[in-house]
Symmetry: C2
Subunit: 467 residues, 2 copies
């Protein structure tokens, strides 16, 4: 494994600094049953080091937390820390209900025990949480006139965009990074996600793409005899005997997530990875370190994605949840159902149709009942026509290597609801801490975002004095 | 009672024609508990007589129902019927959940039995009901490209305005008539409502104002002896012995509601009334038909307001609810708390302070907990600054004789979120059926509204072809 024995490039991104706070939040903002008034503690992180204060109406930058520990997203949203000094901004990172410590009903065990308790996990409740917390925080800081800008990546980016659309009286603008707000219903082609992943690999190397494409048939044959199964386990260095479906899922995840996090510098978001992990995985496939058979090629690619630090002696395929994302499967099986199919011709993956895509979700009956809820509540169909004469101040960033860009807003909608596209970009790469190795296009994307946010604040300050 | 023995001007407004439909609606749109998936039948009325049809993208005009039977609001929103032919519009009037027949849990008795069932009565749930019903209706009519304009008066007008703000992808514009969306928290002066009522009476006659102003002291003295109480009952022709508080409330309501419905033509909205009822009540006070004492003057005024048809032989002060508005007290004691105080100097009413105003609401603890919920969810503070660069296509109509105009939007916010004011107007007078006796200013208001709505639709049609 020569290609990774030399020192791993040190990930020199600074660590996010903050104080930890809690806010007493109400369980249900939209009904008034006795249960609605139950409260829980919502965690939020705050950094006031550079804040200019309420008296100068210095801005408040809020991260609208998504599905996981808020510390995880905070550490991966260095952009807010990087730009805080020039904006004299207060930084606030709010944890999403039912994730991390922000657990109703006292504990995750109770909160997740059944639908009666878990049922209050929804995007609309989360947005109202943010509205209430921000309003209260501003009041407590006597900073009612400080403009709020919301930031978010991925689902957090959807929440940021939707927050600006639904709560324009609380946020003057939103940076929605890699937010697939169009991933619902039939708004975008459902096979786009896996096609993007496949093209990312193909663009690195046609051979790499072809090896992966033909690997599935070979993998499926590996379940035929016990010696084949042993060989599979040994070749891929699996810790346990694993069925072929699990192995296929594990490899698919590696390809998908490598494309998603195909960052230009070493990064530790989902996994600890080198710069351009897709390129590295294809190198491992194109130049296998041990033997030129497909299993050793797949091992090489998987070893980049899952074991870049080299600490693992074997791969444990049992489910793990290091970032506390467990609630997301409830969300995708209720309102967040984003149909994904796989085209076996265009992509390098085995085919999967719409029905399979939907059946992946746990609560099948529920899913069917509300599969068009998100476009009904937040829109999405004909978004350009709808928002051309409505709304303002949203930046939609998308990196086109990111499969999620398939569900993103890729064109300007009006003068101030704009799309920023980076052909070479990956999942909310703009939100990461800047590094000295950042490519020019990324420096340029961030500068553009900063300039736009500055214009929002200047305009707000002007309005504040005159309206 | 000469001044009303001659024939009552016949109320010649046509009667609203419609078909009755029901839609299977979900109880809770924002959570996913087992209870959330309970369904109920939501009533809506539809008139397709003039609709140009889906193939020509002819518009759909939707009334966002408020607190009462939908038939009541439909009959009092003749404007939509009057303009349907020129717009070739489909008319839809949706009943608000927990009113009329749109009763979850099978019956009003069960639905209203406790907070566990009644708790799903909220503005946000109602707006989502409308979003879902309209989306489904358009799909069923294959009219996805037909533009929807929402209409509403009073609370229904708030819902119309909020619907355009929260669901711009479903409604291209809103006519929000007499919608006091600023009546919350401390956005507008809480004593404005009763000052407007008082000024309406004062503008008719200084004597009338003064008689009412001094009447409260005399009334309060009427409880001192049993002979006084008997005299009170006889003078005011009350059916039952009634305490002075009830009588005061009953008279206050008459003044308030007469100001609210001070229409220029005979009308039957809250009560069957002559044109300009405030003027008529002041005439009764200024020229009492029997005896020149205050009680007979008050009787004369009350008899105009409560008994214009002359059918009542005595006044029954026990609560009645002819329009099915019972749920409103739950709404005002949860989220719809609009603080109202009374200035005993400026107004003709006995003083009432902020605390009393709040204590009028039943569920005191709940009220306190969420008194700022509506501005948090829908905005209202600094509305001009917030919406100047956000949102479009809302008409806020207000008649300045209407006490509710105190909480209305009285100034243009931007080019297409505009205020139309009628100095002589009352509560959503613009929405009433046109009559031949309508004053010029009212004809002018409606023409202005029609012109604006036409522009919205022309713009939409253009966008539909090009975006």
């Amino acid at each position: 494994m020569r290609w990774k024995t030399s020192a791993i490039p040190s990930i020199s991104s600074p660590s996010a600094q903050y104080d930890v706070n809690y806010f007493t939040q109400t369980l249900d903002h939209f009904s008034f049953t006795p249960q609605s008034y139950v409260t829980f503690q919502q965690k939020y992180l705050i950094n006031s080091k550079h804040w200019g204060g309420a008296s100068s109406n210095s801005p408040i930058f809020v991260y609208t937390g998504n599905e996981g520990y808020i510390e995880w997203f905070t550490q991966n949203t260095g952009f807010m820390f990087d730009i805080a000094p020039q904006f004299k901004a207060l930084l606030v990172f709010i944890e999403h209900r039912y994730y991390g410590e922000s657990m109703p009903f006292g504990s995750k065990d109770v909160a997740y025990s059944n639908d009666s308790t878990l049922g209050y996990l929804s995007s609309t409740q989360a947005l109202a949480d943010y509205a209430i917390l921000i309003t209260d925080l501003k009041k407590n800081l006597s900073a009612e006139d400080s403009p709020v800008v919301v930031f978010g990546g991925s689902y957090g980016g959807m929440l940021a965009a939707w927050f600006r659309l639904k709560y324009p009286h609380i946020a003057i603008g939103a940076l929605a990074s890699s937010a697939p707000i169009l991933a619902f219903d039939d708004i975008v082609p459902s096979d786009g996600y896996y096609n993007i992943v496949s093209n990312d690999f193909r663009n690195e190397s046609e051979n790499c793409f072809n090896v992966i494409k033909k690997s599935w048939k070979i993998l499926s044959e590996m379940s035929s005899t016990s010696s084949n199964r042993r060989s599979l386990k040994e070749s891929l260095k699996l810790c346990q005997d694993s069925d072929v479906d699990s192995v296929e899922g594990w490899l698919s995840d590696a390809y998908f997530e490598a494309a998603e996090t195909d960052y230009p510098t070493p990064a530790n978001f989902i996994q600890n990875l080198p710069a351009y992990p897709v390129k590295q995985m294809c190198k491992a496939i194109d130049n296998p370190s041990s033997g030129n058979n497909i299993l050793s090629q797949l091992y090489g690619a998987a070893n980049i994605y899952y074991n870049y630090t080299g600490n693992l002696s074997c791969f444990d395929l049992r489910p793990s949840d290091p970032h506390g994302e467990g609630g997301w499967s409830f969300q995708t099986s209720t309102e967040m159902m984003m149909p994904m199919t796989i085209d076996p011709v265009k992509s390098m993956f085995p085919g999967s149709d719409y029905m399979e895509s939907i059946q992946d979700f746990t609560y099948l009956n529920f899913t069917w009942a509300i599969s068009d809820w998100i476009p009904t509540e937040f829109g999405g169909h004909n978004i350009k026509r709808v928002l051309k004469r409505f709304g303002s101040n949203i930046i939609f960033f998308n990196g086109l290597r990111d499969p999620w860009s398939n569900g993103g807003v890729l064109e300007d909608i009006n003068k101030s609801i704009v799309a920023i596209i980076a052909k070479e970009g990956a999942h909310h790469v703009d939100l990461r801490f800047a590094t000295e190795e950042d490519p020019k296009w990324l420096v340029h994307v961030r500068k553009k975002e900063i300039d736009i946010i500055k214009r929002w604040i200047i305009q707000y300050d002007k309005d504040l004095r005159t309206i």
